[in-house]
Symmetry: C2
Subunit: 145 residues, 2 copies
């Protein structure tokens, strides 16, 4: 799955992400990046809406799972998210989530053995100058359907 295909899938599966103009910019085993443009997400205070920053960071947990896990019949679920808003975002924003090979192997082993494997992702959302505008800690589970 390349970035363009991941973008199409994300927007088709989650219409709200389509409305936000979300674009997956990189997708590889253990690594996923995405961005949202300012225009559809800016509020009338001139900053990117908190819900858009949340969505950008949160969805990476799903993209990363689809790009990294190979356990048949399992899907990624978000269980809890903690998000800190650091400063107003006044530009397009982007974010990257990564997982190590060891972490991927651990989650897959737990999912195969117990039907569920937990993983956490720390993601910074940055503006076009590279400043961190929000930090997210997402708690996910790879779960057998």
């Amino acid at each position: 799955m390349d970035a363009a295909e991941a973008t199409r899938q994300a927007r088709r599966l989650v219409p709200v992400l389509d409305a936000m103009g979300l674009e997956v910019t990189e997708v590889a085993h253990g690594r996923a990046s995405a961005r949202i443009p300012l225009a559809p997400n800016v509020n009338h205070f001139g900053v990117v809406y908190a819900g858009s920053l949340f969505s950008l960071a949160e969805m990476l947990g799903g993209v990363l799972a689809l790009a990294s896990f190979t356990v048949d019949g399992c899907v990624p679920l978000v269980r809890r998210v903690e998000i800190d808003f650091r400063r107003p975002a006044r530009t397009d924003v982007h974010a990257t989530a990564t997982m190590t090979d060891d972490d991927i192997a651990r989650v897959e082993a737990e999912a195969r053995r117990h039907g569920r494997g937990d993983y956490a992702l720390a993601v910074d959302v940055t503006d076009s100058a590279g400043e961190v505008v929000a930090s997210i800690l997402g708690h996910y589970q790879l779960r057998r359907l």
Copy 2:
């Protein structure tokens, strides 16, 4: 400000909330409720998107502030949100946020004295059967501009 006017303001100020079909259903001193319909927020797994549940609960902190605080020149800012996803939401969802008169008075006094007053809101998002689908703890600040 009545609920219809609060709906118009929220949708005008935050276009993403307009795309989500957000509706403020109650607004009073110390109390605000809102709902979002299933249609624009459902993903192709048949459940309400996590980012929409987040947005519904988060925006109540701002509506409640506008309905409750009377400190000139101050605006509500969201600083941190913790959200737990309890179960899939398969219907319209709604949420209510409340603050006591004592809490409102405390925040206003701090904002007048120090230029900022912190407040936290615990909000449950419920489906049409009254089941809690997500719980949010939002940390906000009333801050002098």
